[in-house]
Symmetry: D2
């Protein structure tokens, strides 16, 4: 296969013109192992220069990609064997399958395949071992490639905050109330007339994803299958006038009794799965516990760990269940593009990316 400059693996971004696609590009700029070499998008954009196909962008995009011709989202046109998918769910399902069938490892941010039994849904600090599902997936589907997904952006901070607690105390039930940033809705996304100085107490399709995705990621891999965790989750999802950073207020009940001190200790000590250690996108530590009474705050803490850490605070005793706390994470980095990139890094280290030798990273 072709090799990127300086030995980096060439990758493609599908859905490159949208908000998440652009985030992939920004985060991959300067990546030590991966190099964006192809950009693909919808029919409307294909064939145009990337610079012209984007009607909008946030922040700076690498000048050297601006004059790439946008490719169609078609494995016949895209040569990279490592593909990041920022596709809209209206098209992601079949396009991602076509790429996997054609031999690509597809790291997808789309919801379409997350709950497929043979598709790993992974936050690698939490469940890197689930990546082994791709063996079953390849076999069952007869694919040379595979699809690996990351979670919904609001589920990411929940899963990471709960991982050490579920391991230590068994999380039995949770009330999760989110205050989600506008960037979670993409671009153009939320009209300013709807959200300026306002709260919208509903996000279409969001609450339904939380319990299943959380329980899949916190589940155990047994005999090549994920046995979901049994946490009962009550959810309220709210949109708030914040640019980046989803805040989650959690009230948690455990199987075995634990109070704030035990929870703080479990969180502070948690390092996540050791395979992530030292990878370029792996934050260290994955959970940052703040002692202040009024943290985490989206605007102030969102870039913690280069946007990949989950920031936790307000761990306290709860009169109804066991413990209450607040967690926050960057929704387009940890909760979207950054999560996919870290999945790719772990797969590479495992020798499961085309062109990468196990342990080379």
């Amino acid at each position: 296969m072709s090799v990127g400059s300086e030995g980096r693996i060439p990758v493609a971004v599908l859905g490159a013109t949208g908000a998440v696609g652009q985030t992939f590009i920004r985060l991959l700029e300067g990546h030590p192992f991966l190099e964006v070499s192809e950009l693909a998008a919808s029919e409307r954009s294909a064939g145009r220069l990337y610079r012209e196909a984007m009607s909008w962008h946030e922040g700076k995009l690498p000048e050297h990609l601006m004059d790439l011709t946008v490719l169609p989202c078609d494995p016949g046109a895209v040569k990279s064997k490592v593909v990041f998918s920022a596709l809209d769910s209206s098209v992601a399902g079949s396009v991602e399958q076509a790429f996997a069938r054609a031999g690509a490892v597809v790291l997808s941010n789309a919801k379409n395949h997350r709950m497929d039994a043979d598709v790993p849904l992974v936050i690698p600090e939490v469940n890197a071992d689930h990546l082994m599902l791709i063996d079953r997936q390849k076999e069952a589907r007869g694919w040379e490639g595979a699809i690996i997904t990351n979670s919904n952006c609001a589920v990411a901070p929940m899963t990471m905050a709960l991982a050490p607690l579920h391991a230590a105390f068994g999380v039995r039930q949770a009330v999760m109330v989110t205050l989600q940033a506008i960037s979670g809705a993409g671009y153009p996304g939320v009209p300013s007339l709807d959200i300026l100085g306002n709260v919208i107490p509903h996000i279409p399709g969001e609450e339904e994803k939380i319990e299943p995705e959380l329980n899949k990621m916190l589940g155990e891999l047994e005999a090549g299958q994920v046995v979901n965790a049994p946490i009962i989750v009550s959810t309220h999802c709210n949109r708030v006038p914040v640019q980046h950073g989803h805040t989650v207020c959690m009230t948690l009940g455990f199987e075995s009794s634990a109070g704030p001190e035990e929870v703080l200790e479990a969180m502070s000590e948690w390092q996540g799965h050791s395979i992530c250690k030292g990878l370029p996108s792996a934050p260290s530590p994955p959970l940052v516990v703040r002692p202040e009474v009024n943290r985490p705050q989206a605007r102030k803490d969102v870039d913690e760990g280069a946007g990949m850490a989950v920031v936790v605070g307000r761990v306290r005793s709860d009169p109804l269940m066991d413990v209450s706390l607040t967690a926050m994470a960057h929704n387009t980095v940890r909760g979207a593009a950054g999560g996919s990139i870290l999945n790719a890094e772990v797969l590479g280290r495992m020798g499961r990316l085309p062109g990468v030798t196990e342990g080379a990273w």
Copy 2:
């Protein structure tokens, strides 16, 4: 006693220069029964014209009050026997007592006396009968006047939303997560650098008030004492960049089984205590149930019922408890000044305001 113009009862506002004080004045402008005739404030302001004592104001204040001389918060200087207190809690305790001792009926928005056993804490649609506590208060304290309080601004929508549900199904437990407007912190209040494009996951002193105030108001008056309701309440209080309107995400567990349909029916039919009927500040209905999936919204619904209604939406089944819903109310109207004014109106109708005959209103 002196009588205001057109037979209206003259009233004083203590703490008249602050944000809540100004809200009292605005809401009382044009009131059919009550007329602001005295304004009192701290030493710093006393003796100055009201126009000059205020360094800031929101919205328009009545021109005819602007040239009143601000009085000290001293019952020797203030003649009105109906007194609204917008005092800061650092001084409200003793000042309100002094006025009650001197024969005034004090309608207080301050927290100081809310939990005193002989002081009514009242949202009259919910617990107008608790007003009878003033007989015990007067007797126990040897006062001619009395202190009547209204609740914390975030507790108001909780109490009103729960009142019909507690009556019908017995609320056993609740998780209450608030998204509170900046006006709840008064002026200057929250610095813009802290809240613009941000969420602050803590409000000093707020969470502690919720369970006790809610349970006192939902309690039963038995043998002249309030027997508190036994609801276990878990709370998270957040500040959000919204001007007015506190939103509360509630997850509720009942004693007797009830689902969304029963809850919707109970809320839609609820009229509140009949003594409120037709009073100038009483919204009709007190709960406005919206069918849309994304309401209530603070900016769009905050003026429902002239700011005195609680707007409810998203009533749905909950996997963990029984029902989830979202409620919202105007924090400086229903949750502060407007609540005090409605308490005064009810007291007047009961014949418990100096100078007002029972049933005259």
Copy 3:
């Protein structure tokens, strides 16, 4: 012709589902002379109930209109002879002509015909006499009806603030820098990701309208034609995260020397054209001059005169020209729907609306 309830004139709103269309409906609710009896919109909406054709609305709309069937924007389907047009400029041109040809008086908020020599562009306090252009228009075009336009939303506060100054001192040149609210872009309009915590220093198509519209309205009607005013205008249009209310910073140079005192006097005394006096939508006074150093402010002053007044402040001497000041007006009321309605009221009083006798209003 048919007559509305209580003798009110029935009117239609074209483009009724959009943001400006809804503002027309809200402002006309309870109007003493005019009654919305027909709603028309694009093909996509025609034939549906109004309630269902709107995917979004701001504030409350009258319940009694919700079950009207939306009509197509076709004079064959719409019977009202007084028609308010909130149409998008992509269709307004031909549709408004068709209605005028069919005998309707069309009060248009669209830009299409504003600069036609025989179409009045009117803020009636300023140039009600320009309404006489409709005689020429009818004759020239052979129409029974006519088109009357109101100005761009940012031009409205400029024109009203300058009217008394141009009359008194002759405005020679002006630098106009606007800070415009998001509601000026309609719905969905400005994406929140673009404007939250930001300023956008450009509004497509806006700056080009300012000098010509301002000079047409401040021009003199001579021999049946408008002779434009000769003011040279430099403009910068900015979008800011404000819901309603366009602020304009003005630096003004006059023909005859005048300073802040003269300007303040001219503005304070200005009553506007006498034909507006007492009309339902006419603010009194049309210019509200605030003495505070930090007014007008959009959020605090936008509802002055029920949204129809222009609020002016910071009148001061300018080192470069003569005087600087800041003006602000409600962009969807004074600058759009309210302006059209006031134009209709003036035409009615002049006996120029079908079914209304001169002087009856």
Copy 4:
């Protein structure tokens, strides 16, 4: 004198607990030549640990400074001979003089001495040569040290945008309308109730500074004195709900005729004074000209050049003067702490900082 670690010059920050003081500390973290070794603040803070003396902070501050004991703002207590002053103007005047008298080079962000004839007011890309005023200052005042000031935060983008234009065409007159970020007011600064969803058309004391500071910096040094530029400047200063980044809409008239092309060329080619070249805080280029019609935008462009560049856009012909454009700069970096630091770097390169050899940097 003492030397910091790795040969870096030790510096003190006066007013270290405030918003600008913290920005100094953040920007100096990791500086190759300068090292914060002393923190000083008001009596209230002196003697406490820095960590405890700050009631608030934005972003992360270096952990290794947190346990420094805050010193009083007294040259007897502060040993560093390079001192950054983030003092409030109520105390800056005498304190800065005391430090200069005691031999320190004081790089001040305060307004107190900016207009003193023998105090340089410097943006070094524009007028590094004015730094020679310190010779006259030392001599006239008999000081071993000196005071060097940087400009008001809104004047910084004006001066940098005008520098190449004034050199090339002679700027004769300018209308400057600012849209200024809330961080310009420090902390707690602007109350959120005043600015959320609003524009405040006035900033106390701001407009008065613009013409004199701009003309001093664009003036020529002749015979050891600054001969001010003669630009007549009309100003409107507005506060907008933006976190960082002051936007300035400029309308400019030149001595010699020039249009947008000439202006664009002059700006694009401008490199600023060569002495800045390669210094750690010097952006390259100092002016970033954006071709898009809707740039610069505060939120998107504020970090250009690590917050030290001025971003310019919308250069166009003006009907009244010559050219209009919009400029934007980071107000707490380029317009405050970063500007002072760059002044220090230039002084160091000139051999005018205690302990630094000319040309060593």
